[in-house]
């Protein structure tokens, strides 16, 4: 099927497809810093912060003007020698915990953090009970046999 397309058309098609993919690469990353360590911090923090206008994207993924502005703030704070924690606090003070993709350990968030463990314990408990019950029913020797 593909062979019926003339060679020059195939080349043109390929070029078009490549061109269409270029904007996807162009989000940010004009390098913010020459220093690779600072650049790495910059990219890392950007990937942790939520863009609040486009809620399921980080500010590293989004080119909304708010995301651009927040990247500028991060860049300037890193340049000013602020620590990662200070930058996160700056964002949380203004936008609340929701701005962080990785929620902090605060009393409000304890249940959120504990939920996976609690659900795992609950699941294990239900599972064990179920297996024991099955074993007890399957065992014709007596109801206690499965419990040993």
């Amino acid at each position: 099927m593909l062979l019926t397309i003339p060679r020059f058309l195939r080349a043109a098609l390929l070029a078009l497809l490549c061109a269409a993919a270029v904007p996807a690469l162009a989000i940010d990353y004009e390098r913010a810093f020459d220093d690779p360590a600072m650049q790495a911090r910059y990219e890392h923090i950007n990937r942790e912060l939520r863009c609040l206008v486009c809620q399921n994207q980080t500010i590293a993924d989004s080119n909304a003007t708010l995301a651009q502005d927040l990247r500028r703030e991060v860049r300037e704070m890193i340049a000013a020698g602020k620590t990662d924690d200070e930058i996160r606090t700056f964002m949380v003070d203004r936008y609340g915990d929701f701005v962080l993709y990785k929620p902090r350990m605060t009393p409000v968030n304890y249940l959120l953090w504990a939920a996976p463990v609690l659900l795992l314990l609950l699941g294990t408990f239900v599972g064990i009970r179920f297996i024991r019950k099955q074993a007890a029913q399957a065992d014709t020797d007596g109801p206690e046999a499965g419990q040993s």
Partner: protein, 181 residues
């Protein structure tokens, strides 16, 4: 009975959570600024860049900060409501012109009418970030002591104004006069 009871109860609980979740607006992010001191700003006025708009000068009475831009559809939608609110002279209505073109903003106010006592110009959006603004229009109510009392995220309506803003303005004004007297 118990065999079905527990899964059924869990299912019902999950159903309640999901149902409540459906009623909530995920684009609404509560502001951590409520009850905290309003972030200070000192910005050039939109109408005359030589004339600064400083938040400190507004202390002593309740005031409203409305974040807007000519690029924002919701701002056009709420504009007539803001004009009506301004006519009641309840509180000073301060505009924050957010990431906008000054010429376009001035033209907007000239053509549609100006509800604001004064408009602060924030073309770089730095003050907006300090206030935790993420989507215009947003409207803040600030108390006489400079505390943020309330924030409305969405176009202003008369219903929101009379239900949420006016009672708080009255309470704040009463508090301020009794503290002075």
């Amino acid at each position: 009975m118990l065999k079905f009871g527990l899964p059924l109860a869990l299912f019902a609980l999950l159903g309640v959570f999901l149902f409540v979740g459906l009623q909530r607006d995920p684009s609404y992010v509560p502001s951590p600024l409520i009850g905290k001191p309003a972030p200070d700003f000192n910005l050039p006025s939109l109408q005359d860049a030589a004339y600064p708009v400083a938040s400190k000068e507004l202390l002593g009475r309740p005031w409203v900060l409305n974040v807007w831009g000519t690029w924002c559809g919701g701002c056009r939608q709420e504009h007539d409501t803001l004009l009506a609110i301004a006519r009641t002279n309840a509180v000073p209505l301060i505009g924050l012109n957010w990431k906008d073109d000054s010429a376009a903003a001035k033209e907007w106010l000239r053509a549609l009418g100006n509800p604001y006592s004064v408009v602060a110009s924030d073309p770089e959006g730095r003050v907006a970030i300090d206030w935790g603004v993420y989507g215009a229009p947003e409207t803040f109510l600030i108390g006489p002591d400079g505390t943020v009392l309330f924030k409305h995220i969405a176009p202003m309506t008369m219903e929101v104004w009379t239900k949420e803003f006016l009672p708080r303005i009255q309470a704040a004004s009463a508090g301020a006069t009794s503290a002075k007297g």
